[in-house]
């Protein structure tokens, strides 16, 4: 599974990286990421997730071929 992160998450992770674990949904993905870098936990708890340029919720079934974009809270304007 490919992961892309933006903005403040880049303080904790590389902008793009790959996970080999079996990850079924966004809750599991968040848990895996917190294991990698626990300091990212508070920010990850506020992030949205997207696949194929659409937001997904925790019920979305992830598969190993997905590219998941992790989207921190917006701060444009």
């Amino acid at each position: 599974m490919k992961i892309h992160v933006y903005a403040g998450l880049k303080d904790y992770f590389q902008p793009e990286f790959e996970l080999r674990e079996e990850i079924a949904n966004t809750d599991e993905l968040r848990a895996v990421l917190v294991k990698i870098n626990g300091n990212a936990g508070p920010l990850l708890s506020t992030c949205r997730f997207a696949v194929e340029e659409g937001f997904i919720d925790k019920n979305f079934k992830l598969n190993s071929h997905d590219t998941v974009v992790i989207i921190p809270p917006s701060s444009g304007g």
Binding site: H4, Y6, A7, G8, D11, T46, C47, R48, A50, E53, G54, F55, D57, V69, I71, P72, P73, S74, S75, G76, G77
Partner: protein
């Protein structure tokens, strides 16, 4: 000149005057322009400038959807929004929203609604660069602390004064 579509994101300085010049319509008695500009201070710290980052494919699509919904809801003749990416110096424009409608109330309301939604929903982020050399990603949408849902937002334009 009549223009109703501009790129949603720009790596170049926003041409605020040029955008306005292209935002006139014979059926519009009101044109409202909002320019969000970079302040030279935030929470007591001197700001050198901001750096904006976007997840471009989603930001462009979301902004297009926001404009289309506003165009239909307020019967706008023109709805334009353009947001900067990259470094923006204090005093420069970071985002421009232009709305044009038959009467001013619709143009004002739509404009406020559009900028609210862009700020809360579009995957665009700012990193503040301070004059002391430090930087911070910040001013994040914090609506989830009230709504309990990271996908639900509270828009200032919908709050009672």
């Amino acid at each position: 000149m009549l223009r109703d579509a501009v790129p949603a994101l720009s790596a170049d300085p926003l041409d605020v005057v040029g955008l306005l010049a292209g935002a006139h319509h014979p059926g519009a008695g009101a044109v409202v322009l909002f320019s969000g500009e970079v302040r030279d201070s935030n929470r007591g710290q001197a700001v050198l400038g901001l750096e904006y980052e976007a997840y471009a494919p989603m930001a462009e699509r979301l902004i297009a959807e926001i404009l289309e919904e506003a165009r239909a809801k307020w019967q706008l003749h023109i709805a334009i929004a353009q947001h900067r990416v990259g470094k923006v110096a204090a005093g420069d424009s970071a985002v421009v929203v232009i709305t044009a409608s038959a009467h001013r109330s619709e143009a004002y309301a739509a404009n406020r609604h559009i900028i609210d939604r862009i700020k809360h929903e579009a995957p665009i982020w700012k990193c503040e660069h301070y004059t002391d050399g430090t930087k911070e990603w910040g001013n994040n949408c914090n609506c989830h602390s009230v709504t309990g849902d990271i996908h639900k937002h509270i828009y200032e334009s919908e709050q009672r004064p």
